[in-house]
Amino acid sequence: MDLTTIFTQLFGGFQYTFLLFVLTLVFSMPLGLLVAFGRMSKWSPFSFALSEAEKSLLRSGSSLPKAQSVGVVLRRFVGLFRPIQLVMKVIISLLRGTPLMLQLLVVCYGPYYVAGISLSGEWRFIALVLGFAINYAAYFAEIYRSGIESIPVGQYEAASVLGYSKSQTFIRIIFPQMVKRVLPPVTNEVITLVKDTSLAFVLSYMELFTTAKQIAAAQTSIVPLFAAGAFYFVFNAIVAFVMERIEKMLSYYR
């Protein structure tokens, strides 16, 4: 098999790699923002109930200091209960703390083992995109969160005094500045994603890496693997170039 044939076949695999890459980004980037909001949620359903409890303690005749100290203790334990934040924290740490390969297997075969649902041919691909998108959303969420939290509080205050609503403040003032700040870590994730797409081999998805492995085995040759490496390398060089251009575009302010 000559080199041109190898490259042609690998290019077929690369198209699937590219598709997985694009779909993962398209879904995980916005999903990450939602997860970040959840992670930063301060919603605490019991803090309202707390001040009511304090009032009723007072009304029932207990002394002010006693009611207050009960309130303080309750507040410390119950007031810090933020269910959305807690759930997101747990999900993020699970997604970041276990191998992506394992997550892909769970998403793909979970429905069958758990509920006995038989899986169609397309499911494999859907599961793959789902698994990648959810896993990457967890990473993006933490990056977005650190970006949002790094914006000085003065920006919120200036907007508030000028009369911006919360959503106007986020969309016009915070979000654009966040994008600029998170670009370097996002670039790292995107480059990692290019390489991580090779994990799709566990679901026998015929992307670049799986294709290369098959050709290498059939031809008993190392050349297809090197050629696949070249594909990944060039792809990542292009990704890095594009991200650098975007960073330049946003360098008109500091």
């Binding site: 000085p152 003065g154 920006q155 205050e157 200036a158 508030s160 005094v161 000028l162 009369g163 911006y164 609503s165 106007q168 016009r172 003032i173 654009p176 500045q177 600029k180 008109y252 302010y253 500091r254």
Partner: protein, 253 residues
């Protein structure tokens, strides 16, 4: 007419009582300076007045419309978010560290709020914004970004941004404290010009001579209470309270 009225304002941070029963009112055209040692609660008072902090007790009233009103137990009850947004149109705040929006040009920093929140026509707002810049001596900076300006220029832009909303009252929290000494003059000059145009202002400052010259009324705060207040010449040159004398004594006049 009273532009701002604060009655019996109380504010605590945890167990720390930062404002204790503060009452003040500001008439239209009046310039009030607030002076006092570090930690006396001056910034907290401005932040309560500009709705950046919520008061625990007392009233906050702009032009007769309550932003917060004390209930029978004295606890502040705030108006709805919608009403508060309308009330915010009455005042502007100039921060110590400017807080300009770094991703916007100078012109957009000034124009966005009047167009977006004030709902006014873009070309009309642009004309006014350029006029304000000219007044601030920054006509050539309309298309610059904040990072390209000196501290003094940034502060003048932030004053223009506040003025573009046509506030009835303008608050300043130590507008010159973040500036190099040679740049404070240009900001004080701008405020003096505004005073000459009878802009209603409340200024927290450590510049005693400036406070005396620019304001009609001076409030001296210490430990979260108003210790002494009165006509500016009187408070600065002939204070009656010991704490005021001790504080002013630290500034060699």
């Amino acid at each position: 007419m009273k532009v701002l009225e604060i009655n019996h304002c109380n504010k605590k941070f945890g167990e720390n009582e930062v404002l204790k029963d503060i009452s003040l009112s500001v008439e239209e055209g009046q310039v009030v300076s607030i002076i006092g040692p570090s930690g006396s609660g001056k910034s907290t008072l401005l932040r309560c007045a500009t709705l950046l902090e919520t008061m625990d007790g007392g009233d906050l009233i702009y032009l007769g419309k309550p932003a917060a009103k004390a209930d029978e137990s004295g606890k502040s009850v705030y108006a709805s978010q919608q009403e508060l947004r309308a009330i915010k149109q009455n005042f502007g705040l100039v921060f110590q560290n400017f807080n300009l929006f770094p991703h916007y040009t100078v012109l957009k920093n000034i124009m966005e709020a009047p167009v977006l929140i004030g709902g006014r026509k873009k070309d009309e707002v642009e004309q006014e914004a350029r006029a304000l810049l000219a007044k601030m001596g920054l006509s050539d900076k309309a298309d610059a970004y904040p990072y390209q300006l000196s501290g003094g220029q940034q502060q003048r832009v932030s004053i223009a941004r506040a003025l573009a909303m046509k506030p009835k009252i303008l608050f300043f929290d130590e507008p010159t404290s973040a500036l190099d000494p040679e740049l404070t003059g240009e900001i004080l000059k701008v405020i003096q010009d505004l005073a000459a145009e009878h802009m209603t202002m409340v200024i927290v400052t450590h510049e005693m001579a400036f406070a005396r010259d620019v304001s009609n009324h001076i409030i001296f705060m210490d430990g979260g209470v108003i210790v002494e207040e009165g006509e500016s010449e009187q408070v600065i040159n002939h204070p009656t309270q010991e704490r005021t004398k001790a504080f002013l004594g630290r500034f060699h006049r």
